[in-house]
Amino acid sequence: MERRKISIYILVIFISVILVFPFYWMLVTSLTGRASLLYSPQLLPDIKEIDLSAYFNIINKKPIIKWFFNSFYVALFSTICTLIISILAAYSLSRYSSKFNRLIGYSMLIIRMLPGTLLIVPFYIIFQRLGLINNHLSLIIGNVAFITPFAIWMMKGFFDGIPVSLEEAAQIDGCTPLQAVWKIILPLTAPGLSATAIYSIILSWSEFLMARTFLTGQDAWTITVGISSLMGEHIIIWNELMAGGLISIVPVIIAFIILEKYLVSGMTAGAVKQ
């Protein structure tokens, strides 16, 4: 059995190295001096040769900070709206199962499976008529449309895990149904709420198609559009590009590390129930 454990460790380390390599390489490149980029790549760089100039350059040359805050602003509001809509809907789906409910539920499922490029054309037409092109509101609305189905599904799972008897007990004690939800159920779903919120932040942060189509002015861009614009230039300064890329993923990586244990436990709970 000992030999088995060792071979598993070796396999895990070997596979981890391969799978994590793109991150590593992005980091190494961002810390390389501009001249050194033209030399042969070095898999294990010299500690002495680390050069932070790429980070300063990219922040000075392009509105990276502005893009960063645009993404943050859009992600924040998309998440708030999504949470409100999906908590209500998920609670309804979990506790009451009417035809109307299930119809909306299935439609939500369908949204998850539609091509983004399918909806982008009508969305553009709608937002153009509303005068919302180059306005972050169009992106927020679009995000809400795409993220709500996921969020409803996640929250429904968490609501299902709370016995109805708790609300009934609260109502016997004199709460209205609404108070029962607000005071008893919501606090219990705090982990589920956080998980859904972080998931929504990650999805909004990654949004590219709609951001690129609806946001026309460079100052309005989110970080994803901004980074992609850097790649379209004639001369690409790779260490700066990698620095920009790394800056753009720091929030989602932090969010992911927090979320990770909820993701796994949420999914395994669903599996065990069967």
Binding site: S16, L19, I111, P115, G116, V121, A145, W205, S228, V272
Partner: protein, 286 residues
Amino acid sequence: MISVGFMLPAAIVVISLVIYPIIKTLVLSFQNVRFFGAPAQNIYFTLKNYYKLLYSPSFWHSLNVTAIYTLASVLIAFVIGLVTALLLNYKFKGNRIARIAFLLAWPIPGVVVSLMFVWMFDSSFGVINYILRSLNIISTNLMWLSSPKMALAAVISATVWKGYPFFTLMLYAGLQGIPKELYEAASVDGATAIDKFKYITLPGLRTVITISIILNGLWVFRAYDIMFVMTGGGPARSTETLPIKLYQEAFQYFHISYAAAIGVISLIICIIVIAISAPLLRKEFY
């Protein structure tokens, strides 16, 4: 009363942002709209777009590219996901760290993934050519993204890297659902690890495997971010999938109705796949 009231915001979202746009796209595909903001009144209905589509070699080419791209990306990601899920299933110290390492690619935006891979696949300075040359697998640098034959491989690699964590997660969760007693009983009966895998693990994972392959397949089929940033559909349209083609027709050539027709066809393909798998999915989700 509460049930309907609570569902109302979600219902409004669905009707205005899903049902209406789909109907609008459907209607557009039967018209001849050539720019955004065209007045709706004097547009007549025609099947022209669908004829053009079915007789257009570039459409079938895009469909072909999409099929290859989707199949290759899903299957390779599935294998990696299965291997990583099986590994995570063992109890070993540092399992949590391994889990984070294996899943770390998941939250990364497609744009940033493309960034990483365009740089790694760079012909002159990229690390992949460097490693391949160092291992003597190739003698001169491969022109990954400028060669029609290799570009698709590069994009598939990037898609696989972003996509495999989904399988890792789903399959890992599925593995938790297989009772440990089955493995113990099999050990008592003298089963080898391969036997256990074939006769306990795989059948136990059957539902999860089907669902995850379908969901991931639909995701790759619809994927746009990575392809657009890495190749934009080139070179020589060798990586032009349906979503790329649709976006080009709509926002570059302003063939809005034609693009809508492409969208409807994509939707039909997705619906067929969903319809085939609906019985399985319903059990999982609602």
